[in-house]
Amino acid sequence: MLVIENLTKMYGGKAAVNNLNLHIAPGEIYGFIGHNGAGKTTTLKSVAGILKFDSGNILIDGHSIIDDPIACKKVMAYIPDNPDLYDFMSGIKYLNFVADVYGVSAERRSQLIKQYGDALELTDSLAQNISEYSHGMKQKLAVIGALIHEPKLILMDEPFVGLDPVASHTLKKLMRELCDGGCAIFFSTHVLEVAEKLCDKVAIIKNGVLIRSGTMDEVRGDESLESVFLELQE
């Protein structure tokens, strides 16, 4: 579903991401962990088509993000770490806007808005202006907006930040269900316990270089993910 080949992104003279390679198959939840400034967001933004990169290629569902970005974006959803949404819209108007852009039928969007809105306990607040939303509510709205077009690949940058424990639990459940249905999820997190419990595979990045990746068992061996991560960061 997602193939990252030799991805390199430079900022000034410094490589934010250096020759990164990663393969994510349908049905996988792939965790991306690393210290602050390691290159996680840069990688996710490059995959999402928000950032141009200096070399390498990114293939989404067989399409190159360089050559055919529209085809890639049609099957992908991105949730940034701090979703700044249109505060001049209400929640429902935002969701309808996203659904229109992705060509979701009126009937299907109604079902999905109800399904995910209820699951994340946001349905009652959808008539409110986004400017009145809390950070957590915006995060929930961004999640619903990402799921409304039933993407094959979901990119999430720190998706649990700002969510209450119930919403966080619901989102984890949703992520598992979506991947069981064939979707692939690539997300960054600092919460290693979440990564350990939720992910099928994990990649650890340090100073822009991928230092370890694979299934959870391959990466951590007999240790906890936290111990491995701390060891690798030294």
């Binding site: 999402a48 085809a71 974006k73 991105y78 001049f88 209400s90 852009v101 969007r109 607040s125």
Partner: protein
Amino acid sequence: MLKILIKKQFDELLAGVFTNKRTGKKRSAGALVGYSLLLAFAAISLMFAFGSLYLLLGMTMKTGELQSGQAFEGWGGVYFAFSGIITAMIGLIGGMFSTYAVLYCPKDNEMLLSMPIKPMYILAARMMSVYILIIAYTFTSFLPALVIYWILNGFSFLVLLTGLVMYIAMTLLILAVSCLLGWLLALLAAKLGGKKIVTVVSLLVSFGAYYLFYFQRQRVMDAITADPAKAELTFKTKLYPFYAYGKGTAGEWISFLIFFAICAAAMALTILILSRTFISLVTTKKSGRKKVYVEKKSSANSPLGALTRREIRRFLTNPLYLINNGLGAIIMVVLSVIALVNTRGIRNLLGNGSMPGGGAFVVLAAIGAIGLVLAMTPISSSSVSLEGSRLWVLQTIPATAETILFAKMAVHTIFAGVPAVILAVSIGIVLDAGISTAVLAAAALAFAVLIGSFGLMLEVHNPKLVWTDENMAVKQNLNVLFAMLGGFGAAIFFAIVSIPVSIFVPAMTIPMLAFQFFAYTGLSILFFRLAVKFWPRLCA
């Protein structure tokens, strides 16, 4: 602490001038020189416009002096009172519509309020930002007023001194009035909730200010030149602060002190009111009832339709954007009504066809005039900067650059192009222009599209995406200024090229209009293609 906050305001103000925020690279010396030249050109153009106004008034008064034997010097107070009105109007247009956004709506409110900073300091630093705008706007009126006075009356060191002090006092008065309006809007928003009330009040006040500036200016000038003594008395009884400003600038010490006291009192009162209410206003959320969502049957729309509706909603719900970039649209509709109501008067004024070439060239003058108003309606030239930190949405959706930018152009065309067509048709009816009316309307629409595509191209090339308050994306955005200047330039250029041809060969009027239509359309396509080409650079 205040120094640190003011430095932060300045850093924001200058962000993007020396460094390209998109690429993080320093701008080249050539680019900086280019920017400086364009800014200087803008300032000189405005000074030239105001200078012409003051020269006209001064010369007429001077002629009166020769006829009546009265010295122009004696009427310096009236002359400066008039210039004070113009300066105040310009300053208010520059300042008052941004104070609500700058003082009360920046994104860093919570962060700054959580720090050990006196709210007054936060307020003062933000007021400084508005004050710089006011200075930038008003100086283009103050300086030519002084220079024209010296040209007609000889240089006076006293007038230089009093003029400078009175000017500073005037700018502080404008700041006080602007801040009070911002405070009033914040109060209304907090009490009544939402931005709708802010939009309505801002529109009414701004339209009043523009109306006074455009339509009453000539009346005041005529009254002064007809009877300076009577005008002076009117200033004294009805517009005392301007009377005191005029007299004070001309060197009368009592008026000088009174005006200074008025300004100081206004400023003190403003600071008192704002500082006492600042925290409660920035921390008060809408008091309205929470709306509960009731599921309704939704309908699917095309991506272009969704993007266009999004642009329309943002334009209509953002008072700052609406007033700063879109007020020309309302002015065009009002002008259409005025033209239709005064059809006979306008025809008499134009001599009922007795002008050279039967007056056919008036149609070409009309497209020039419509172009000048359209240049003041640069809706698209803030449309990318206003995306700010929400640009990621447009960057991640499966829509082409053409679709995204076409939606922005569509909004510009609806709100600038349609009023331009209405005005063109009204002028055509007034002038009884026949077939020319259709070509005039087409040319007006094409000119609206030209301003839109030019502004959009500037925006995509160099947007101001990093800001803490929307004022920076709208009022402090050079793309708006350059789009306006480009519009003025194009309108004047085509008028100069085509009007003489029409005067000497009236049959060339319609071909010249058609030529303008094709030229505007061709340039629009070029600018739009460039905007589409530049769009991927936003992902650098």
